[in-house]
């Protein structure tokens, strides 16, 4: 059973990992491009990238192109694996809810049923 990842689950970081995981394994996205696609400020994106870099989910590369600094971001294998597990966990919750809903509907139709089950 897959488990949720607290680092990745934060909404902004979830979108970052979703974006990076959709690129090829050898492909890096530029910081500015991520900022535009995800509609974030420099500071906001930078802070969340550092949070993802700490457990090794992403790799940040800083280079110079024509004497201008450029930053590129890439999901690591560990990051992709963690993201996949997190998505699987979310899907399990959703699928589990469908079963749960049926159970909940049964309880609504028979409100005393849950009490008798609880007492036994």
């Amino acid at each position: 059973m897959a488990s949720l990842n607290e680092v990745i689950h934060q909404p902004v970081r979830l979108r970052i990992m979703a974006a990076l995981a959709s690129l090829g394994k050898e492909t890096q996205a530029s910081f500015n491009y991520l900022k535009d696609v995800l509609e974030l400020t420099d500071g906001n994106l930078g802070a969340h990238l550092r949070k993802l870099e700490e457990p090794g989910y992403i790799e940040i590369t800083k280079t110079f192109v024509n004497n201008k600094p450029h930053t590129y971001v890439q999901a690591t294998s560990a990051g992709r694996q963690a993201f996949r597990e997190h998505v699987a966990a979310l899907e399990e919750i959703l699928n589990g809810n469908q079963t749960g809903l049926n159970g909940h509907q049964r309880e609504e139709n028979d409100p005393h049923g849950s009490q008798s089950e609880g007492s036994s």
Binding site: H9, L14, A18, Y33, Y72, V87, N97
Partner: protein
């Protein structure tokens, strides 16, 4: 960590939306196929219907425009993403091009159809190797299909080879 089913659903929707946005970027690389597909379409039409000595009148401008448009698209894409294997791929194509020129000189193809088959299979081989380096299965399948089509066309329907 407790996540409700509604939160799980919202997260999955967010993931799908973000990945759809990113696929639009990846889809831009399809423009390379469109550019070179048009170049080869025009060039091969010329091969099929123009006198042999006039074929270069189509190929020279078409390939030149193709390179210019590819460079513009490449520069635009490079501002957004880059591949860590980019320099390796570039070096590979340089080496492949040099190897192809050497073999062209040594083999001296007997006809323009053999010229076309050789040049096209070299580029297709290059594309296949890029697909392997980038682990891009669609590119590998596409280049395998094109290679099969070329060989079948050359041997089974030579009259329509360039089409």
């Amino acid at each position: 960590m407790n996540v409700s089913p509604e939160e799980a659903r919202a997260s999955l929707v967010t993931i799908r939306q973000t990945q759809t946005q990113m696929k639009k970027l990846v889809g831009i690389t399809g423009y390379f196929s469109i550019i070179w597909g048009l170049v080869w379409f025009l060039g091969l039409l010329g091969n099929q219907y123009l006198p042999e000595q006039d074929v270069w009148l189509i190929w020279a401008p078409a390939v030149t425009v193709g390179w210019i448009l590819s460079a513009i698209l490449g520069i635009h894409l490079g501002k957004q993403t880059r591949t860590s294997s980019g320099s390796r791929i570039a070096f590979f194509f340089l080496a492949l091009g040099g190897f192809a020129v050497l073999w062209f000189v040594v083999m001296q193809p007997a006809s323009w159809k053999q010229d076309a088959l050789f040049i096209m299979t070299v580029f297709i081989f290059g594309g296949m190797v890029v697909g392997i380096i980038e682990r891009a299965l669609p590119l590998i399948m596409y280049t395998l299909f094109m290679a099969a089509l070329l060989v079948i066309g050359y041997y089974l329907v030579p009259v329509y080879f360039c089409l």
